[in-house]
């Protein structure tokens, strides 16, 4: 009995009837739902498909896939975003601030105590970190009209913490020095 009912359900006549009923707006078409898509047909109903290995068009697919690792930047005379490639090697200054893997200058803002304390953190420092700390502090104090500025140096992890929000100032300063 059940098999008989199933056979009736699967007949093409009934399928066509269901489509017709749906087109008459008696059954709401569930748009953007998988229920509104066509039901699965027997395999013979579908067109023949040829399976290709390494087709020449595959390179267009590869072009759309995201790269696995961060690519090297393309060399241009000028960049509209204001980004600059790193030019300094740290030979003349004695210290070196590496770029991050995304080729950005590693200066960050750390807010604590509901935004009441703001720390500027310079990371990835190699070489004479104390000389860099003197230079950065001078830049910050100049922008504060000579008022003193508190800093903290972590030589082991190569970080300098500066009290206050001086991210843009220091980032531009480091970029102007070629880091």
């Amino acid at each position: 009995m059940a098999a008989n009912a199933k056979a009736i359900v699967n007949t093409p006549l009934l399928q066509g009837l269901k489509q017709l009923v749906r087109s008459l707006h008696t059954d709401c078409a569930r748009l953007s739902s998988f229920r509104s898509s066509r039901e699965v047909q027997p395999l013979e109903e579908y067109p023949e498909v040829e399976v290709l290995h390494n087709p020449p068009e595959w390179k267009y697919v590869e072009r759309l896939l995201p790269p696995r690792t961060v690519p090297q930047p393309v060399a241009k005379p000028a960049y509209p975003s204001g980004w600059k490639p790193q030019t300094a090697t740290g030979q003349e200054s004695g210290y070196f601030v590496a770029r991050t893997k995304n080729h950005m200058v590693p200066v960050y803002l750390n807010t604590r105590f509901r935004g009441q304390r703001r720390l500027t953190i310079v990371r990835l420092i190699q070489g004479d970190i104390w000389a860099l700390e003197r230079d950065l502090r001078q830049v910050v104090e100049q922008s504060r009209n000579g008022k003193l500025c508190a800093t903290r140096v972590n030589e082991l992890s190569g970080q300098i913490h500066i009290h206050g929000d001086y991210v843009d100032l220091l980032r531009e300063h480091l970029k102007s020095k070629g880091f």
């Binding site: 696995r68 690792t69 030979q91 893997k101 990835l124 082991l156 992890s157």
Partner: protein
């Protein structure tokens, strides 16, 4: 594979141009040497294995610290330099973050540790269901059970309960940094040696003992190859020696590197480790590895 690597001349990073120059000179020297000494020894007839680093894909963060290491032989007890290899500074000359190494060691100790210390509460200690003496009229303090925590032989409050797991996951990039830091520390301390392959001539354990004695390795030695199936000879030779251990490159970890005095890597293992670690340091979808660890994740 090694011959193929040897043949490929790769674009070198400008700051190590010096090195690449010396490398080419060295190779030409080696080539002439090998032509002159072919008659004398068959072992030396191979050209020197010079493996420069390809900096085109991943430029080093650290500018002035290109590292190079000798490639040694293991086919005889006497030491012979088979070639020279450039190591990527981001992996083998990273900042020695001893704090991160310590965090890795602590994590490796703790994540598999289950504390079995256990105490019984007043409900679990046997007896004590009866009021020991009446509430009033005895001139004594009021008590409801002789297994109360106030009593000698009573239950314990807030005692250890078994089993207590100490599992946690260290952040992914701390684990990566632990590996690069430890490899850099090992190289800087002259405790990292690179060998051509793990094909030793005999199954005799005495050969390995003599080798370690001769090369001034050890006392404990960790030998790492890329694959987890080692050749038969080295398996038999190291099987009876407790202080010499074999490990595939995918099993390399901070704890084992520090547990053994000397780390011995094959050329293939070095290449594999560099490739994997540089991929992790430069991967685009790094944020997917920095999410919270879920027990049912793949």
């Amino acid at each position: 594979m090694l011959k193929f690597l040897n043949k490929t001349r790769q674009l070198l990073y400008p700051n190590v141009r010096n090195l690449s120059h010396t490398v080419t000179v060295c190779q030409s020297n080696a080539a002439t040497e090998s032509t002159t000494t072919t008659g004398k020894e068959t072992l030396v007839s191979k050209p020197a294995l010079i493996l420069p680093q390809n900096y085109a894909e991943h430029a080093p963060v650290s500018r002035s610290t290109a590292r190079q290491a000798w490639i040694e032989n293991v086919d005889a007890v006497t030491e012979r330099k088979v070639g020279l290899m450039e190591l990527h500074p981001d992996v083998f000359a990273a900042q020695p973050r001893v704090d991160v190494i310590q965090e890795n060691i602590e994590w490796q100790r703790k994540y598999r540790y289950v504390s079995m210390a256990h105490t019984k509460t007043r409900a679990e200690v046997r007896g004590g269901g009866r009021k020991p003496w009446p509430q009033k009229g005895m001139g004594r303090a009021r008590h409801g059970s002789i297994r109360s925590p106030l009593f000698k032989g009573g239950g314990v409050i807030h005692g250890p309960r078994s089993p207590t797991t100490h599992f946690y996951m260290l952040p992914f990039y701390k684990r990566v940094m632990g590996l690069t830091s430890t490899l850099s520390v090992k190289l800087a301390q002259d405790d990292l040696h690179i060998i051509e392959d793990v094909e030793i001539p005999t199954k005799d354990a005495q050969f390995i003992r003599d080798l370690i004695q001769e090369r001034n390795w050890g006392p404990s030695v960790l030998i790492v190859d890329k694959h987890d199936v080692f050749p038969e000879n080295i398996c038999y030779a190291t099987d009876s020696i407790g202080y010499v251990n074999l490990m595939p490159a995918y099993g390399l970890n901070v704890y084992s590197m520090l547990k053994h005095d000397t780390l011995v890597l094959t050329v293939e293992a070095v290449k594999h480790l560099e490739e994997r670690l540089l991929y992790q340091l430069h991967r685009n979808d790094a944020a997917s590895k920095q999410t919270k660890f879920k027990l049912d994740q793949v």
